[in-house]
């Protein structure tokens, strides 16, 4: 949360948000796999105004050698924003924010991958934010999960990213850019849809206990919806050929 003050009214008299959504409504989401032919697996997601691509390389022997783990694969997610992805040009390369996000995304993805099957290897997950519209980390981790499945990486579940927060005193799902800039809190999460476990959880802003649990429950409900889209996206990539007898 930027903590900026604004005259913009983020929730109107009918309880609708500036993009016309209800408090518990997601932005439109589109997913696709197989967008980077060179990679072992890849995915593209459009989520509101976010346009994000993810690609997976590996498992492959991890270099430099000292990063290898003798009993498991390491997952190296790299979250990167294109210079043109935001209004004011972003200086290329990793800043502190993207280093932190890369770390928490790597950790969250490691929780689902059967990493013990590939000792000494690295599974590289590249997440490129091409256009940013708030919620890039949760959209990015959703795309990364699709790319991992598409790369044939063994996993105990998919991962669904989703955020909720508070704007104008109202707990809302899936903040857009204006809401993120002028809102009061943001709670990005990644959820394992099968078990309901929480693999990524961050929060910033100002919330009471009740507001916070409301927000988390809203995000977890929406995760079920996004999970269905993930399944449909992965299956339909192969199903076309399948009904052909």
């Amino acid at each position: 949360m930027m903590g900026m003050k604004s005259d913009i009214k983020l929730i109107d008299d009918n309880g609708l948000r500036i993009d016309g959504r209800l408090p518990n409504q997601l932005r439109p989401i589109k997913m696709e796999v197989g967008v980077v032919k060179r990679a072992n697996g890849s995915a593209y997601i459009e989520w509101g105004g976010n346009k994000i691509m993810a690609a997976v390389y590996g498992p492959r022997e991890a270099y430099p050698k000292h990063v290898q783990e003798s009993d498991r694969a390491i997952i190296r997610a790299r979250y990167n924003m294109a210079a043109f992805s935001v209004d004011e040009r972003k200086r290329p390369g990793p800043d502190r924010r993207s280093v932190e996000l890369s770390k928490v995304i790597s950790e969250a993805l490691t929780s689902v991958v059967f990493v013990e099957k590939f000792p000494r290897t690295a599974i590289d997950v590249y997440i490129e934010v091409l256009q940013a519209d708030a919620g890039t980390r949760v959209a990015g981790i959703t795309a990364a999960s699709l790319a991992l499945a598409h790369a044939g990486i063994p996993m105990r579940d998919l991962v669904v990213g989703c955020a909720a927060g508070k704007v104008d005193g109202v707990v809302v799902l899936d903040l857009n850019k204006e809401e993120d800039n002028f809102g009061e809190a943001d709670v990005p999460m990644a959820i394992l849809p099968r078990t309901g476990e929480i693999a990524l959880l961050q929060m910033d802003g100002d919330l009471t206990y009740d507001e916070l649990t409301n927000a988390m429950e809203m995000a977890m409900d929406a995760a079920r919806e996004i999970y269905k889209m993930e399944i449909e996206t992965l299956k339909s990539a192969y199903r076309g050929d399948d009904n052909d007898n």
């Binding site: 280093v99 928490v104 394992l192 476990e197 929480i198 959880l201 919330l207 009471t208 916070l212």
Partner: protein
């Protein structure tokens, strides 16, 4: 890149031992699950800093120095001062720390502490304007880890808060009025938990951290608000666990706050 918190290979026996103790409701250093290690605070430790605190959380030791200097405001906040945070994991503090540019561990640590202070509006940045749109006070919070025995998140957060509370804005030195105490609105305290097997303990020590599957830091204010959270490591939490952790952090945070602000008057606690 290579600076890591964990020591790498942990003896299986240690893992078993810690879990066995947990079954009996206790911990390797005899603490209860919600018991924080003893906190010692020395404020005003660095005379050249505008505010400072040497904090010991058990054997973990962190020194925070606050420097305050005039600078230009950000264009979108012309009537607010600026705060920045930085963590140095110097090789002196642990055999697993290496020299070089900030590791991702150091960056995450600094950003989690930053978030707690920034989001709670702990510092009253609106009172740090020298000349609107032209000149404001910039508060640099530099955290130097001196001995790493687990849970740097809380040690750094406590040290940063007490150093800020100790800080004087050096207006006279820059000839822009009289010195004044850095204005504080709120007192955010982070409490970090580690999940070990099915147990979740507060303020993990080094042994506990080395076998923890998941970590969760919750920063709360004296008003009972939640201002920042950060989950870490490869494991997961259930929603029920998260709710309990938030509640525990509210009560533990309150106790820690009473303890550190009571003792932050320049003398050892």
């Amino acid at each position: 890149m290579t600076t890591k918190f964990s020591e790498g290979v942990v003896a299986e026996s240690k893992r078993d031992y810690i879990k066995k103790l947990a079954l009996q409701g206790t911990r390797i250093d005899g603490r209860g699950f919600d018991e924080v290690r003893p906190i010692k605070i020395k404020t005003g430790f660095i005379k050249r800093a505008d505010g400072s605190a040497l904090v010991e959380l058990g054997d973990t030791k962190v020194l925070v120095g606050v420097k305050i200097e005039p600078g230009e405001p950000f264009p979108d906040t012309p009537n607010m001062g600026i705060m920045t945070t930085n963590v140095e994991l110097v090789p002196l503090a642990s055999p697993t720390f290496e020299p070089g540019p900030p590791s991702e561990e150091a960056i995450e640590l600094a950003r989690v502490v930053d978030r707690g202070i920034r989001e709670s509006h702990a510092i009253d940045l609106e009172k740090l304007v020298i000349e609107e749109g032209e000149k404001v006070w910039v508060v640099f919070i530099d955290m130097h880890v001196l001995d790493y025995h687990g849970n740097l998140f809380d040690a750094c957060g406590i040290a940063a808060l007490t150093a800020l509370n100790d800080a004087i804005v050096p207006a006279e030195r820059f000839e822009v009025g009289e010195d004044f105490k850095l204005p504080m609105n709120h007192y955010p305290v982070p409490v970090t938990f580690a999940k070990i097997g099915e147990w979740i303990v507060a303020d993990p020590n080094l042994d506990e951290e080395s076998i923890a599957k998941a970590r969760l830091t919750v920063t709360t204010s004296e008003e009972g608000k939640i201002n920042a959270m950060q989950k870490g490591l490869f494991g997961t939490f259930t929603y029920e666990e998260v709710k309990k952790v938030i509640n525990r952090s509210l009560s533990i945070g309150q106790k820690v706050r009473e303890q550190i602000l009571g003792g932050a008057d320049g003398e050892e606690n």
